[in-house]
Symmetry: C2
Subunit: 257 residues, 2 copies
DNA sequence: CGAGCCTTTGATTACGGTCAAACTTGGTGG
DNA sequence: CCACCAAGTTTGACCGTAATCAAAGGCTCG
């Protein structure tokens, strides 16, 4: 049953609303606006599509879902049905090994798309957990594939997004494989700064929604090392860090690390 | 010019032959056999396609290329035109950072497909280098995309292969992020063993074509640590290693590490 | 058959992990 | 609205794994 994969209790008000929304086919007069007017459209799946294609694409967006902080959007092992575009809020994706080892494999911000890991074996291989209250667009993959048969630009867009994910992971592998702790933290800060800027936020002052533990897991170091490294950067005048509030003082200095 | 991306000197005999082969459209009576009869078909792009689709797909394989040991199939920065399926031999893929840092991001065996990193920005982000004399099938990506518009199963197959690459990289990220040196080497040996077996070779006795340095780069450890760890495993009776010749004595013991 | 590359092993070092404790923040309920 | 408690963060002390430096032996392939 669909509810089962949502990780939202059936009794939850949001769950009921969503089930209802899913049952109702979107009306053509309201749905297209969900993409055409979306502020994150360029960064998302609809980016690069022309007018008619955007409308066709928007028809695929069956529903948007609300995920509360700490809740799971999908879990490793869940049947794969949809990919998800972040509308608001932020997520982490987590890979788990049988021995209980866990590794944060990514942080997602508005416009980012997740779930492509599920195509491989028709089940998700990672879990996605909300770092704050979030909304996502749900894109049933079979509908997407069907639509791709009729729109070559959409097909290409999916290939591009998956390729981007491959390249992103390659860069992260290099970080995990060859960089020192300081280089990792510096690269992380530069990466977050860039992505904040792309989304129209300040590149130099932002709130990290993830904990030191999650950052450490992502970077392959311990939370203590993350904290120490931030203190070190602060002493060198590269950043000002007060808990989750981070101010980048010298971005070029960070790039040079 | 096409030659420029091949990393094969124009004066080289192989280069001329290939240019000629590429100029000539494949004859319909000979080309389909190149996939229908390929021993690695199931593992490759053509896997999961039915009869007619295999023929259509085979028409995309413009040519096969020979790459000598140490030569580059494509280089980071090269214009992206094709993806490549390994027919015979083995490759490594390498990511380079500006500072000269290099990281081996993958080893490819017959049936493996590479080059999906190129879709992202229409240029390759990694380099592929032959570990021995190799042959590859060249699959021009624009032809592939065109054919995908007419075959939903082929389209799905490409999505699946790209997803598989995403999942492979996720697993490697976990290895690089949380595992000890011994765990990494053990996981590497198990992985190679499995892939050898899938290709019809012995799961317990094989020749590694890559150096300790390349293995170390792949696993995010030094070549000395690779060597020491293999010696350690040998002392514990898990493997017998004599240079590049590796014999797995106790695969379950390795899995348990 | 020899030169260069690869591999192995040893000695030492250092980076980041682990353990520990104090402090801060933020969410919850009285 | 404030107090309290749990979760998160910082900092310190110490330790261990794997990196680094070094050197000798072994393959491979021109």
């Amino acid at each position: 049953m669909f509810e089962a994969t949502l990780s939202v209790p059936a009794s939850h008000a949001q769950g009921s609303l969503l089930a209802q929304a899913y049952a109702d086919r979107p009306r053509s007069d309201s749905r297209p606006a969900s993409c055409a007017g979306c502020t994150r459209r360029q960064a998302c799946l609809a980016g690069g599509l022309n007018g008619p294609d955007v409308e066709k694409f928007a028809a695929i967006v069956h529903l948007t879902r609300v995920i509360r902080q700490g809740e799971t959007l999908f879990r490793a092992g869940d049947a794969f049905r949809s990919i998800y575009a972040v509308r608001t809020g932020s997520f982490k994706t987590v890979i788990a090994h049988r021995d209980g080892m866990e590794h944060v494999s990514g942080f997602l911000f508005p416009g980012d798309v997740m779930g492509f890991d599920g195509v491989h074996a028709n089940r998700h291989e990672v879990s996605a957990i909300a770092l704050e209250d979030c909304t996502v667009c749900v894109l049933p993959f079979s509908l997407l594939e069907k639509q791709c048969q009729e729109s070559r630009s959409l097909q290409h867009q999916i290939y591009t997004l998956m390729s981007t994910e491959i390249v992103r992971e390659s860069a992260l592998m290099m970080l995990l494989g060859v960089m020192s702790a300081r280089e990792r933290v510096a690269a992380f800060l530069v990466n977050i700064s860039t992505r904040m800027q792309q989304r129209g936020y300040s590149a130099s002052l932002f709130n990290l929604r993830m904990t030191r533990d999650e950052i450490g897991s992502y970077l392959g170091i311990t939370l203590e090392t993350v904290s120490r490294t931030l203190s070190h950067f602060q002493k060198k005048g590269l950043v000002r860090a007060a808990g989750k509030q981070i101010e980048i003082v010298d971005i070029e200095g960070l790039r040079a690390v």
